[in-house]
Protein backbone atom coordinates (compact mmCIF):
# COMPACT_ATOMS: atom_id res chain seq x y z
CA UNK A 1 0.00 0.00 0.00
CA UNK A 2 1.41 3.39 -1.01
CA UNK A 3 0.65 4.94 2.34
CA UNK A 4 2.59 8.13 1.68
CA UNK A 5 0.57 8.99 -1.40
CA UNK A 6 -2.68 8.26 0.46
CA UNK A 7 -1.53 10.51 3.29
CA UNK A 8 -0.53 13.20 0.77
CA UNK A 9 -4.01 13.01 -0.75
CA UNK A 10 -5.64 13.35 2.66
CA UNK A 11 -3.33 16.20 3.62
CA UNK A 12 -4.04 18.12 0.43
CA UNK A 13 -7.76 17.42 0.71
CA UNK A 14 -7.94 18.51 4.34
CA UNK A 15 -5.94 21.65 3.56
CA UNK A 16 -8.26 22.78 0.80
CA UNK A 17 -11.33 21.86 2.83
CA UNK A 18 -10.04 23.98 5.73
CA UNK A 19 -8.92 26.92 3.59
CA UNK A 20 -12.11 26.85 1.54
CA UNK A 21 -14.39 26.77 4.59
CA UNK A 22 -12.46 29.60 6.24
CA UNK A 23 -13.31 31.78 3.28
CA UNK A 24 -16.78 30.41 2.54
CA UNK A 25 -17.95 31.20 6.06
CA UNK A 26 -16.77 34.82 5.77
CA UNK A 27 -17.53 35.67 2.14
CA UNK A 28 -17.64 39.45 2.62
CA UNK A 29 -14.16 39.46 4.15
CA UNK A 30 -12.92 37.32 1.26
CA UNK A 31 -14.64 39.60 -1.26
CA UNK A 32 -12.80 42.62 0.19
CA UNK A 33 -9.48 40.78 -0.19
CA UNK A 34 -10.20 39.72 -3.78
CA UNK A 35 -11.22 43.29 -4.57
CA UNK A 36 -7.76 44.50 -3.53
CA UNK A 37 -6.18 42.57 -6.42
CA UNK A 38 -7.99 44.83 -8.91
CA UNK A 39 -8.78 41.84 -11.15
CA UNK A 40 -11.96 43.40 -12.48
CA UNK A 41 -14.28 46.39 -11.99
CA UNK A 42 -17.28 44.29 -13.00
CA UNK A 43 -19.27 43.71 -9.80
CA UNK A 44 -21.06 40.45 -10.82
CA UNK A 45 -17.76 38.92 -11.99
CA UNK A 46 -15.95 39.97 -8.83
CA UNK A 47 -18.78 38.66 -6.67
CA UNK A 48 -18.84 35.37 -8.62
CA UNK A 49 -15.13 34.84 -8.02
CA UNK A 50 -15.46 35.61 -4.31
CA UNK A 51 -18.63 33.56 -3.93
CA UNK A 52 -17.57 30.56 -6.00
CA UNK A 53 -13.89 30.05 -5.31
CA UNK A 54 -14.06 29.09 -1.63
CA UNK A 55 -16.82 26.53 -2.19
CA UNK A 56 -14.94 25.20 -5.22
CA UNK A 57 -11.97 24.59 -2.94
CA UNK A 58 -14.24 22.85 -0.43
CA UNK A 59 -15.54 20.64 -3.25
CA UNK A 60 -12.04 19.70 -4.39
CA UNK A 61 -10.97 19.04 -0.80
CA UNK A 62 -13.89 16.67 -0.29
CA UNK A 63 -13.13 14.82 -3.54
CA UNK A 64 -9.54 14.26 -2.48
CA UNK A 65 -10.47 13.11 1.02
CA UNK A 66 -12.98 10.65 -0.41
CA UNK A 67 -10.64 9.58 -3.19
CA UNK A 68 -12.90 10.55 -6.09
CA UNK A 69 -11.54 11.71 -9.44
CA UNK A 70 -8.16 12.15 -7.80
CA UNK A 71 -6.08 12.95 -10.85
CA UNK A 72 -8.66 15.30 -12.32
CA UNK A 73 -8.98 17.13 -9.00
CA UNK A 74 -5.24 17.41 -8.44
CA UNK A 75 -4.76 18.71 -11.98
CA UNK A 76 -7.53 21.27 -11.37
CA UNK A 77 -5.84 22.38 -8.15
CA UNK A 78 -2.47 22.65 -9.85
CA UNK A 79 -3.99 24.78 -12.61
CA UNK A 80 -5.53 27.03 -9.91
CA UNK A 81 -2.50 27.21 -7.62
CA UNK A 82 0.05 28.34 -10.18
CA UNK A 83 -1.65 31.57 -11.33
CA UNK A 84 -2.84 32.34 -7.77
CA UNK A 85 0.71 32.06 -6.52
CA UNK A 86 1.90 34.37 -9.29
CA UNK A 87 -0.82 36.90 -8.36
CA UNK A 88 0.25 36.81 -4.73
CA UNK A 89 3.88 37.23 -5.75
CA UNK A 90 2.97 40.20 -7.94
CA UNK A 91 1.08 41.87 -5.09
CA UNK A 92 3.97 41.25 -2.73
CA UNK A 93 6.39 42.88 -5.17
CA UNK A 94 4.11 45.93 -5.40
CA UNK A 95 3.94 46.18 -1.62
CA UNK A 96 7.70 45.77 -1.34
CA UNK A 97 8.24 48.65 -3.80
CA UNK A 98 5.71 50.85 -1.99
CA UNK A 99 7.03 50.16 1.51
CA UNK A 100 10.71 49.87 0.52
CA UNK A 101 11.34 46.86 2.76
CA UNK A 102 13.07 43.51 2.16
CA UNK A 103 10.96 41.10 0.15
CA UNK A 104 10.60 38.53 2.94
CA UNK A 105 9.49 41.28 5.34
CA UNK A 106 6.34 41.87 3.28
CA UNK A 107 3.33 40.63 5.24
CA UNK A 108 -0.30 40.72 4.18
CA UNK A 109 -3.49 38.71 3.95
CA UNK A 110 -3.39 37.24 0.44
CA UNK A 111 -6.93 35.87 0.73
CA UNK A 112 -5.72 32.28 0.88
CA UNK A 113 -7.61 31.56 4.08
CA UNK A 114 -4.70 31.72 6.53
CA UNK A 115 -4.84 35.40 7.48
CA UNK A 116 -1.81 37.68 7.38
CA UNK A 117 1.43 35.89 6.58
CA UNK A 118 4.97 36.79 5.57
CA UNK A 119 5.27 36.40 1.83
CA UNK A 120 8.22 34.01 1.85
CA UNK A 121 6.36 31.58 4.09
CA UNK A 122 3.24 31.89 1.90
CA UNK A 123 5.20 31.18 -1.28
CA UNK A 124 6.83 28.15 0.33
CA UNK A 125 3.43 26.85 1.45
CA UNK A 126 1.99 27.26 -2.03
CA UNK A 127 5.02 25.60 -3.58
CA UNK A 128 4.52 22.58 -1.31
CA UNK A 129 0.82 22.44 -2.21
CA UNK A 130 1.72 22.51 -5.90
CA UNK A 131 4.24 19.71 -5.33
CA UNK A 132 1.64 17.61 -3.53
CA UNK A 133 -0.88 18.20 -6.33
CA UNK A 134 1.63 17.23 -9.00
CA UNK A 135 2.62 14.13 -7.03
CA UNK A 136 -0.99 12.97 -6.99
CA UNK A 137 -1.16 13.37 -10.76
CA UNK A 138 1.12 10.36 -11.14
CA UNK A 139 -1.79 8.16 -10.19
CA UNK A 140 -0.39 6.23 -7.26
CA UNK A 141 -2.07 5.71 -3.90
CA UNK A 142 -5.32 4.31 -5.24
CA UNK A 143 -6.01 2.57 -1.97
CA UNK A 144 -8.78 3.85 0.30
CA UNK A 145 -10.44 5.67 -2.62
CA UNK A 146 -14.12 5.60 -3.37
CA UNK A 147 -13.62 6.10 -7.10
CA UNK A 148 -10.03 7.03 -7.98
CA UNK A 149 -10.87 7.59 -11.64
CA UNK A 150 -14.29 8.76 -12.75
CA UNK A 151 -13.77 7.42 -16.21
CA UNK A 152 -12.70 3.78 -16.21
CA UNK A 153 -10.18 2.84 -18.91
CA UNK A 154 -11.47 0.08 -21.22
CA UNK A 155 -10.17 -3.42 -20.27
CA UNK A 156 -8.46 -5.48 -22.93
Amino acid sequence: MDIFTVLARWLLGATFLYLGLNKALHPVDFLKLVQQYDLTQNAPLLNSIAAGLPWFEVFCGLLLLAGVAVRGTSLTLTVMLVPFTLLVLHRALLLQAALNIPFCAVKFDCGCGTGEEFICRKLLENFLLILLSVWLLVGRGRQLSLRFSLIKSPSH
Partner: protein, 193 residues
Protein backbone atom coordinates in the same frame (compact mmCIF):
# COMPACT_ATOMS: atom_id res chain seq x y z
CA UNK B 1 -12.05 14.79 -19.57
CA UNK B 2 -12.00 14.10 -15.83
CA UNK B 3 -10.70 17.64 -15.24
CA UNK B 4 -13.66 19.01 -17.17
CA UNK B 5 -16.13 16.96 -15.14
CA UNK B 6 -14.50 18.08 -11.87
CA UNK B 7 -14.55 21.70 -13.01
CA UNK B 8 -18.18 21.66 -14.10
CA UNK B 9 -19.38 19.80 -11.01
CA UNK B 10 -17.25 22.04 -8.79
CA UNK B 11 -18.63 25.24 -10.26
CA UNK B 12 -22.19 23.97 -9.94
CA UNK B 13 -21.55 22.96 -6.33
CA UNK B 14 -19.92 26.30 -5.56
CA UNK B 15 -22.76 28.46 -6.81
CA UNK B 16 -25.41 26.21 -5.28
CA UNK B 17 -23.64 26.38 -1.92
CA UNK B 18 -23.40 30.17 -2.13
CA UNK B 19 -27.10 30.34 -2.91
CA UNK B 20 -28.04 28.11 0.02
CA UNK B 21 -25.65 29.64 2.53
CA UNK B 22 -27.27 32.34 4.70
CA UNK B 23 -23.98 34.24 4.37
CA UNK B 24 -23.85 33.87 0.60
CA UNK B 25 -23.03 36.84 -1.60
CA UNK B 26 -25.60 38.51 -3.84
CA UNK B 27 -23.93 38.12 -7.22
CA UNK B 28 -25.35 41.23 -8.86
CA UNK B 29 -24.88 43.68 -5.99
CA UNK B 30 -22.16 46.31 -6.13
CA UNK B 31 -20.56 45.92 -2.69
CA UNK B 32 -18.09 48.76 -3.29
CA UNK B 33 -20.02 51.82 -4.48
CA UNK B 34 -17.31 54.01 -2.95
CA UNK B 35 -14.79 52.70 -5.46
CA UNK B 36 -15.50 54.46 -8.77
CA UNK B 37 -13.46 55.68 -11.73
CA UNK B 38 -12.35 58.75 -9.80
CA UNK B 39 -10.84 56.71 -7.04
CA UNK B 40 -9.13 54.48 -9.58
CA UNK B 41 -7.46 57.64 -10.86
CA UNK B 42 -6.34 58.37 -7.32
CA UNK B 43 -4.52 55.05 -7.13
CA UNK B 44 -2.91 55.37 -10.56
CA UNK B 45 -1.87 59.01 -10.37
CA UNK B 46 -0.48 59.01 -6.85
CA UNK B 47 2.28 56.65 -5.83
CA UNK B 48 1.34 54.56 -2.80
CA UNK B 49 4.19 56.10 -0.82
CA UNK B 50 2.90 59.65 -1.45
CA UNK B 51 -0.45 59.14 0.29
CA UNK B 52 -0.97 57.60 3.70
CA UNK B 53 -4.07 55.40 4.06
CA UNK B 54 -5.83 58.22 5.94
CA UNK B 55 -4.95 60.76 3.25
CA UNK B 56 -6.09 58.39 0.51
CA UNK B 57 -9.36 57.80 2.31
CA UNK B 58 -9.88 61.56 2.82
CA UNK B 59 -9.29 62.13 -0.89
CA UNK B 60 -11.68 59.31 -1.77
CA UNK B 61 -14.36 60.75 0.55
CA UNK B 62 -14.04 64.09 -1.21
CA UNK B 63 -14.13 62.45 -4.65
CA UNK B 64 -17.40 60.77 -3.70
CA UNK B 65 -18.93 64.11 -2.69
CA UNK B 66 -19.02 63.29 1.02
CA UNK B 67 -17.94 65.31 4.06
CA UNK B 68 -15.59 64.22 6.80
CA UNK B 69 -15.01 65.07 10.45
CA UNK B 70 -11.79 64.63 12.38
CA UNK B 71 -11.38 63.26 15.89
CA UNK B 72 -11.89 66.59 17.67
CA UNK B 73 -15.03 67.33 15.70
CA UNK B 74 -16.38 63.84 16.38
CA UNK B 75 -15.88 64.29 20.13
CA UNK B 76 -17.51 67.73 19.96
CA UNK B 77 -20.55 66.26 18.23
CA UNK B 78 -20.65 63.46 20.81
CA UNK B 79 -20.86 66.07 23.59
CA UNK B 80 -23.26 68.32 21.65
CA UNK B 81 -26.65 68.62 23.43
CA UNK B 82 -28.32 67.69 20.14
CA UNK B 83 -26.79 64.22 20.43
CA UNK B 84 -28.75 63.53 23.62
CA UNK B 85 -31.85 65.06 22.05
CA UNK B 86 -31.61 62.69 19.06
CA UNK B 87 -30.61 65.47 16.67
CA UNK B 88 -27.28 63.78 15.92
CA UNK B 89 -26.70 60.07 15.39
CA UNK B 90 -23.51 58.04 15.13
CA UNK B 91 -23.57 55.02 12.83
CA UNK B 92 -21.19 52.09 13.18
CA UNK B 93 -20.52 50.57 9.74
CA UNK B 94 -18.80 47.42 10.97
CA UNK B 95 -20.17 43.89 11.18
CA UNK B 96 -22.25 42.71 14.11
CA UNK B 97 -19.50 41.00 16.08
CA UNK B 98 -17.23 44.06 15.99
CA UNK B 99 -20.15 46.31 16.89
CA UNK B 100 -21.01 44.17 19.90
CA UNK B 101 -17.40 44.17 21.06
CA UNK B 102 -17.47 47.93 21.38
CA UNK B 103 -18.96 50.97 19.66
CA UNK B 104 -19.35 54.66 20.28
CA UNK B 105 -22.07 54.92 22.93
CA UNK B 106 -25.50 55.25 21.39
CA UNK B 107 -24.25 54.46 17.87
CA UNK B 108 -26.58 52.57 15.56
CA UNK B 109 -25.41 49.43 13.84
CA UNK B 110 -25.38 49.36 10.03
CA UNK B 111 -23.34 46.72 8.21
CA UNK B 112 -23.27 48.03 4.63
CA UNK B 113 -22.63 44.52 3.28
CA UNK B 114 -26.01 43.36 4.63
CA UNK B 115 -28.13 46.47 4.13
CA UNK B 116 -31.40 44.55 3.88
CA UNK B 117 -31.00 43.62 7.54
CA UNK B 118 -30.56 47.19 8.79
CA UNK B 119 -32.05 49.73 6.39
CA UNK B 120 -35.64 49.44 7.59
CA UNK B 121 -34.60 50.34 11.14
CA UNK B 122 -31.98 52.92 10.34
CA UNK B 123 -33.65 55.00 7.65
CA UNK B 124 -36.33 56.53 9.93
CA UNK B 125 -33.61 57.49 12.41
CA UNK B 126 -31.52 59.09 9.67
CA UNK B 127 -34.49 61.03 8.30
CA UNK B 128 -35.28 62.43 11.75
CA UNK B 129 -31.81 63.72 12.70
CA UNK B 130 -29.86 66.77 11.54
CA UNK B 131 -26.43 65.14 11.38
CA UNK B 132 -25.22 61.60 10.81
CA UNK B 133 -21.64 60.63 11.69
CA UNK B 134 -20.57 57.32 10.18
CA UNK B 135 -17.44 55.45 11.18
CA UNK B 136 -15.79 52.05 10.88
CA UNK B 137 -12.37 50.79 12.00
CA UNK B 138 -10.30 53.77 10.88
CA UNK B 139 -7.07 53.64 8.87
CA UNK B 140 -7.87 52.57 5.33
CA UNK B 141 -11.32 51.19 6.18
CA UNK B 142 -13.84 52.61 3.70
CA UNK B 143 -16.91 50.73 4.93
CA UNK B 144 -18.14 54.00 6.46
CA UNK B 145 -18.07 55.51 3.00
CA UNK B 146 -19.93 52.56 1.54
CA UNK B 147 -22.57 52.96 4.24
CA UNK B 148 -22.86 56.70 3.54
CA UNK B 149 -23.36 56.12 -0.16
CA UNK B 150 -26.03 53.49 0.53
CA UNK B 151 -27.87 55.94 2.79
CA UNK B 152 -27.56 58.69 0.20
CA UNK B 153 -28.92 56.35 -2.47
CA UNK B 154 -31.81 55.55 -0.12
CA UNK B 155 -32.75 59.24 -0.03
CA UNK B 156 -30.86 60.65 2.97
CA UNK B 157 -29.64 64.17 2.21
CA UNK B 158 -25.93 64.33 1.46
CA UNK B 159 -25.39 67.39 3.65
CA UNK B 160 -26.38 65.34 6.70
CA UNK B 161 -23.74 62.67 6.12
CA UNK B 162 -20.28 62.92 7.69
CA UNK B 163 -17.50 60.36 7.70
CA UNK B 164 -15.40 60.03 10.83
CA UNK B 165 -12.21 58.68 9.21
CA UNK B 166 -10.33 58.01 12.45
CA UNK B 167 -12.94 55.42 13.35
CA UNK B 168 -13.21 53.29 16.45
CA UNK B 169 -9.43 52.81 16.54
CA UNK B 170 -8.78 56.52 17.06
CA UNK B 171 -11.73 56.78 19.44
CA UNK B 172 -10.43 54.01 21.70
CA UNK B 173 -6.81 55.17 21.41
CA UNK B 174 -8.00 58.47 22.91
CA UNK B 175 -9.55 56.53 25.83
CA UNK B 176 -13.01 57.74 24.94
CA UNK B 177 -16.01 55.79 26.25
CA UNK B 178 -17.05 52.66 24.41
CA UNK B 179 -20.34 50.82 24.80
CA UNK B 180 -20.47 47.04 24.47
CA UNK B 181 -23.42 44.89 23.49
CA UNK B 182 -26.58 46.41 22.12
CA UNK B 183 -27.23 50.09 21.44
CA UNK B 184 -27.85 52.10 24.63
CA UNK B 185 -27.01 49.06 26.73
CA UNK B 186 -25.31 51.47 29.19
CA UNK B 187 -22.44 48.99 29.43
CA UNK B 188 -19.70 51.62 29.15
CA UNK B 189 -15.91 51.32 29.21
CA UNK B 190 -13.17 53.92 28.92
CA UNK B 191 -12.12 56.72 31.23
CA UNK B 192 -12.22 59.96 29.31
CA UNK B 193 -15.86 61.02 29.18
Amino acid sequence: MEVLLVAIAGIAFAFAANQISPRGLALTRNYFPAKNSHTTALTTNATPAALSPAQFLAAQIKENGLQSVDGDQAVKLFHDPRFKQNGIVFIDARDESHYQEGHIPGACEFDPYHPDKYLAAILPICRAVEQIVIYCNGGDCDDSETAAILLRNAGIANQKLFIYGGGIMEWTNNSLPVETGARNSKSLHGTNK
